[in-house]
């Protein structure tokens, strides 16, 4: 005689098996065994038709309880097993975290682009408009208008590459012709910064190039002074490096400014005490500056009785050399990947 198992017994048996199961595959097998279509439990409702209606209700309840308890046991055991697996993740899926990363196939921006971005951003934060202009200049813009008359010895400060025999078309030797162009374009008051390539007739070596980058700033306003120039340069130095960097003005001579200065920034390594990076002077030579000469204002169409101005500038390579401790100007233009990849 066939023994018809009562649902509760099946459930007890199933729950015991479920609780003993050790992984997800075993649980799936048990689910099929006890709840699958061909399972003993699922066959039970097919025999309900033979029962009386009151018996049927009781049997149905019993069947449902059994199924629900098995399902609950499966779910509980699944959660248990998952918890156990998560607890053991470190043993199950370890990787060597010290293994080197896979580098992206990215290229790099040139260090001069990066430095130029930075210095331009500082100028813009002071309200200066960035302006660019021609590199091939006329003698008038490059020299004459800047108080450098023809034949004057001060022209020897900037050895010039000429583009015609008449020597009135030159590769600009500085960005200063843009002072005149901006004054002519915009008038006063005026706050502009002018980056760009400049050229000199130089034999190329570690500290001289036939071409380099300058950035020059020009401020023209009704009541502007050396003190304002000094503050502006100091703002720049503290923005580029750290707060507290000091600026020193040494009198110098440029025909287009009066008074004229070279500016030094206190050494960041030794805070001005003197160390090998600053040649033991405590100061780093950084750029040149001065109050715009009245003749230059006049040549730009600005009335020197009404306005004064200051101009200051530096070599972008010089700033990069100071920032990254580079000692050879030629590296910037060789485009050796071993150099480019360091920035």
């Amino acid at each position: 005689m066939k023994v018809i198992s009562r649902p509760r017994e099946i459930a007890d048996q199933a729950i015991a098996a479920i609780q003993a199961a050790s992984d997800a595959d075993a649980l799936e097998a048990l689910r099929v065994e006890f709840l699958g279509r061909g399972s003993e439990l699922m066959a039970i409702p097919r025999s309900f038709g033979k029962l009386a209606s009151d018996e049927r209700a009781a049997a149905g309840r019993e069947f449902n309880q059994a199924r629900t308890s098995i399902e609950a046991a499966l779910e509980a055991r699944t959660r248990d097993l998952e918890r156990t697996r998560l607890d053991r993740l470190a043993e199950l899926e370890p990787i060597d975290v010290t293994f080197p990363g896979t580098p992206p196939a990215e290229g790099r921006l040139h260090v001069l682009t990066k430095v130029q971005r930075r210095v331009e951003a500082i100028m813009e934060s002071l309200g200066y408009r960035i302006e660019v202009g021609p590199e091939v200049e006329t003698d008038w813009y490059n020299f004459e208008a800047l108080n450098l008359p023809k034949g004057h010895a001060s022209r020897d400060m900037q050895e010039t590459l000429f583009l015609n025999e008449a020597e009135d078309l030159v590769l600009r030797t500085h960005t200063s012709p843009m002072q005149i162009r901006c004054m002519q374009r915009y008038g006063a008051p005026l706050y502009v910064a002018m980056p760009g390539r400049v050229y000199r007739r130089e034999n190329v070596d570690a500290s001289h190039g036939a071409q380099f980058m300058q950035l020059e700033a020009l401020a023209i306003d009704s009541d502007i002074s050396v003190a304002d120039l000094k503050g502006t340069v100091q703002y720049f130095a503290e923005s580029l490096w750290q707060e507290g960097r000091k600026v020193r003005f040494r009198p110098n001579y440029f025909p287009y400014t009066e008074p004229s200065f070279e500016f030094d920034v206190s050494c960041g390594v030794c805070s001005g005490k003197g160390c090998p990076s600053c040649g033991h002077s405590g100061w780093l030579e950084t750029g040149g500056c001065g109050m715009v000469h009245p003749n230059v204002l006049r040549n730009g169409g600005v009335d020197p009785e009404q306005y004064r101005g200051f101009a200051w500038g530096f070599g972008i390579e010089r700033i990069a050399m100071l920032m990254y401790d580079i000692h050879d100007l030629r590296l910037f233009y060789d485009n050796d990947l071993r150099f480019l990849e360091q920035f």
Binding site: E106, G107, L109, H110, T113, R117, E120, G127, R129, I130, E131, V132, P134, E135, V136, E137, G151, H152, A153, S154, M157, F162, L163, L169, L171, P189, L190, V192, Y199, R201, G209, A210, Q211, D221, D223, S225, V226, A227, D228, K230, G231, T232, R248, F249, P251, N252, Y253, E258, P259, M291, H293, P294, R308, Y333, D334, N335, D336, L337, R338, L340
Partner: protein, 794 residues
Amino acid sequence: MRFSYEWLCDLAGVKDVAPEKGAEVLTMAGFVVDHVSVIDYAGIVVGRIESQVPHPRSRKPLWIHQVDLGTETRQIIAGAPNAVPGTLVPVALPGTTVPGGVTVRDGVIAGEAARGMLCSAAELLIEDGPEGILLLEAGEPGQPLSAVIPNEAILDVEVTANRPDCLGHLGLARELAAGLGRSLGRDFMPRFTGGVEPKGTDLIQVDIEAPDLCRRYIGAVLSNVHVGPSPSWMQRRLRSGGIRPINNVVDVTNYVCLEYGQPLHAFDLDQVRGARIIVRRAEEGERLMLLDGVERSLNPSMLVIADGEGPVALAGLMGGEESGVTGLTTRILLESANFDGVNVRATSRALRVRTDASARFEKGLSPELALAGARRAAMLLAELAGATVHTEWVDEYPRPQDPVRISFPPERIDAILGITVPREEMEAGLTRLEFQVQTDGDGEWDVFPPVYRLDVRIAEDVAEEVGRSYGYDNVPATLPAGRRGRWLPFRPSQERTLDAARNSLAGAGYDEIVSVALVSSRVLEGLGIADRTIRVVNPVSDEHDVMRTSLAVTLLQAAALNRQRDRAALSAFEMGRVYLGRDDGPEGQPDEIQRLAMLRLAGPEPDEGRAAFLQVKGAFERAAEVLRLHDISYEPATGVLFHPGRCARVLVDGRPAGHLGELHPQVMERFDLPGRAVLLEVDVEPLLTGGRDRRYAPLARFPTVDRDLAVVVGGDLPAASLLSTIRDSGGELLKGARAFDEYIGPQVGEGRKSVAFSLTFRSPERTLTDAEVDGELARVRKALTGAHGAEFRA
């Protein structure tokens, strides 16, 4: 310029200031001291040569000396034969580092003991030139050398072009004194004049025929001159200044030049023919043998000093050989003149002659300095050469220097400097620098700069002097505080706008390079891209004699350089200008066009070149897209740099912007590059200005359906034509179409190719059914067949 610190201190009346401190004072006054060389003779003594024999075994010529050092005699070996017995020489003892940097050791040279070193002038930093051991004029064996030649500091000072008054020790001493808060206490103009008859004006006649180029000519006559060596103190100071002593007359002229900065020249008056001097322009082709022994051909742009028969000196540059002072000279004409700086500079450059005199004249000297220099030199010649100085010198002064008065309210200086300087400090500082200050009734100042300060003309110049003496360290740091009623709104610069494209290209694996825009004309001509070249007329080398007309050159040079350094793979870009001469006239400014160029190296196989082409194209399109939304298209083209079958013209929004292509094998060979490479070069301007603004498009609410389509067509049909047909026939539901593969081979037959497209369909209103999409696709197939005879692969 080299300055003797001892001399400066002597003139400035300074006794107690170390050379380093003095150098700092000068640097902060605007005279940058590049270098302080302290010459310390510790460890060097005077020796007397007792004997000298050639070294018997050395292969190099060496001499063995026995040297008396007072308490002992040492054997010392030297490489020069001039230290003959009886001479006094400087001897560096073992362990000493001589000023020139050599450290002396006890040693043995080819079997002979060498127990010290006989020093040359160069090793003692006394003088650069002469070979051989320095022979001393005085001293006792065993005495420290510093008893004969004092220890010394030499300052190497950058004197700016506006301060020729400081190209002499007197001027710089004045600055040193002022920087230390003192006055020089010495009159600029010496009082000495000659007093002996006959009058100088009766002995020589001077005519200035070119007063535009010679502002003043003083000719003093001195007789009974005894030419001989100058005293050792003078020789030492000359050597400190880098000048070799010659004889007392020449030495005095050089000494005064070093002292005052006024160049002087001494003629042997008996060699001045006709007892007259004419200052005139040279005649065309006139020739003159200068003191350096080289004959020069002159022209009328140059100024000469001529006597009754012909030129005897090149004005402001160098004397002639024939009229120079010799040991037989007894009467001299001392020239102290003022020549035009621009003219001296032009002559100096034309003849490539640069002298101490021309370096001073070309900066523009005060004609008043000529008299001061003449008086000082005459006084020294009377003292040191026993000369008789005649009264009434010739002084032709056709264009006297105008006195300068600068009037302004002293508040103007405060406004320029941005600080209120106490009036008495202002005045004291100016007075130390020998300016005179007078106050008007209304408080305005009249400032009179000293005659030698031609650089001071306007109130700004005076402000600089006040600032220097008051100290720029005392000026506060402020920012401009003007109430600006006018401003320029912020606009990002073109370079910073392009940064988005730079970032995109870097992200795609391209390194940015920056190159020198001066390139070699030979390279441009070799590549056939030398049209419209801008040429430098005075290049330093033929490697840098023209401006680049294409960024291809500098990118290829970078690739070649990196290949030489074992970096064969390169993907790089450059953004920079090319320079193209304009047809409308070579004298005008050229077009300077900002371009983007990309270069990618690839392997030697044809497929590798094609892959690189598509990679460059894809990276470029993305970079262009981050700037603006453009329609970028390509059409087959040719170009001198490119592979004839692999070159496209790039059209940005329909406008030709440049080229993309694989480089011609001959171009690769020229740069010694193996394999293949793809170059793109386009103008940047259309990328920044053309195209469409970016606008947000609402996100799609219904899913897309993707279908691939493999189209078999004739092998030379461009994919762009197929795409255009697909887009035109696809209807509203076709949202995108791109080509993703190309196949040429046996499966599609000779002369044909298969191009695979991916098509994307979507409706804004509903989810599309397969049947709808199939219908759309059928229409596209039909159009392709109709237009191009296309067949389709499964």
